[in-house]
Symmetry: C2
Subunit: 302 residues, 2 copies
């Protein structure tokens, strides 16, 4: 028996049985609290500071995009992205592709592409981990279309079946582009999800992290008019100065953020408040919530 | 017994039983066809021309947005939107709100707002219809997080339970904004979904149609920096010339589109190809598909 969000969770089959549905926590009495109210009532220990060694900054003219890396799921890709950053591979980079309701993708902006020197071009895929891998997993009891179980692993959207665990392609998740060869990605080109979450990508690409600040920048570029949303010319690229590791910058240049712990009681309260949302506007609670409809609160570190 | 996508469908409970899952069609042999391949192989009678009387155009400087209305689900709102269009209510309108991963909303752009003269400001809610309403419903056998059953009704994303049927808030669906009062919407302000589909809105707002062309315009505006993504000043609004009914324009100014029928064999083939997608890039078929992950093909009318 494992405890999840304060309830004994029932193992989910490919789709939940009615018994599984009964594991969904009951509606709270009265109106549900808003996210700011849940955040205000949370305790300091329910927050986790982002690790500067696993945080990336991309500075665009209109703001900073911040990405939290997930070395626990993609250790080789994360190490390679960091090596690429340190060798200057991403200096004067560009958003090269924006496909509506799918992805924004970025890479080097200059042709011909500079080859990596310390980092590498290609790595073996890190699509999934064995189910027994030592990663956390807080199960969401709500039914999911695509996976046996979904939930959160240290703030990241995640899914699993009886054999494997993986990061899920929800809005804002970041992955490594690849060619047809599964082992052709490496982190030289990255993408994030900007529309309805294309969960069919799960287990087919290496997910390396998620955007914790700046989706309003990455999701609002004009869509590319070439095939698959690629811009037709480098002149259309949206330039960023570099993709830097936070720990490599002086403290004065860092943006120190903290994220609500997805294994905390306050996060459980937040999820259940959204699941049963009832307030002046929402009057008909659904009683279920989708994995990708949950946003993990992020704020300036205290 | 009703036939759905060529298979006897099993009634779905709040979440599908394993018996329900078995109603998912089997994987096609070999690689799955691409959407262009399915479209190329379809028959003319598997397409439905959009009705100019229920099609709206919004012309932005960078292109035309086309909306198909759903009078079968929201007859009073659709009639009112058409009356508002005809009285010039939307002339020189503007996108007033873009909230990232949620909605783009448009209305009049000038303050003070002009009151409707023929159309009205407020209508009673048209959130759902009785389950017995004479609307088509092609059930998708895949599990859904939010509703007992999901599927398509004449090309529109739809859901139902034992009592009611309604249009679902998938990417690109269009609804009527309202205040806290459920009967305060009417169509003077409209919104479309631009991110992960917020299905918790289902049954709480009147859905009036969907965008069939131009989402790449509506989804790419800079996000508003005011509360809930509203622009802080009218100077930030993105102007459109008018919102016109196609039938009210001379034929030379119309964009004549047709949509693949969601009750056709080709659509069934398309959905199953995406459910079991297998090609040079996708090698691990999921065997399930989400309602809001399906895009209904639209093309120039032949």
């Amino acid at each position: 028996m494992r405890f999840v969000f304060g309830l004994a969770a029932v193992a989910l089959a490919a789709c939940q049985s009615p018994a599984g549905v009964s594991a969904i926590p009951a509606a709270p009495p009265g109106n549900t609290p808003s996210i700011p109210e849940v955040v205000a009532a949370s305790k300091p220990e329910e927050w986790r500071k982002l690790d500067p060694a696993n945080t990336l900054y991309m500075d665009f003219p209109n703001g900073r995009v911040i990405i939290e890396l997930a070395p626990q799921f993609a250790p080789n890709h994360v190490a390679n992205i960091k090596a690429l950053s340190r060798e200057g591979f991403f200096v004067n980079g560009g958003v090269t592709r924006v496909q509506d309701n799918f992805v924004t993708q970025w890479a080097q902006a200059a042709e011909p592409l500079r080859a990596p020197k310390v980092g590498v071009e290609k790595l073996n895929a890190e699509f999934t981990l064995p189910r027994s891998a030592p990663v956390s997993f807080n199960v969401l009891p709500d039914p999911d279309t695509f996976a046996d179980e979904v939930g959160f692993s240290d703030g990241f959207y995640a899914a699993r079946d009886k054999d494997r665990v993986w990061l899920a392609h929800c809005y804002g998740m970041v992955g490594a582009g690849r060619d047809s060869d599964e082992n052709s990605g490496g982190g030289t080109e990255l993408y994030t999800i900007i529309g309805q979450s294309p969960r069919a990508l799960d287990r087919q690409l290496t997910v390396v992290g998620k955007v914790v600040q700046g989706m309003e920048i990455l999701a609002a570029f004009p869509r590319g008019t070439g095939d698959a949303g690629f811009y037709k010319t480098p002149a259309e690229y949206h330039r960023y100065a570099d993709m830097k590791i936070a720990a490599d910058l002086p403290e004065s240049q860092r943006t120190n953020l903290e994220e609500m712990r997805t294994d905390s009681a306050s996060f459980q309260t937040l999820v259940n408040a959204r699941r049963w949302r009832k307030d002046g506007f929402y009057t008909k609670p659904v009683g279920r919530i989708g994995l990708c409809n949950i946003t993990v609160p992020v704020r300036a570190a205290k």
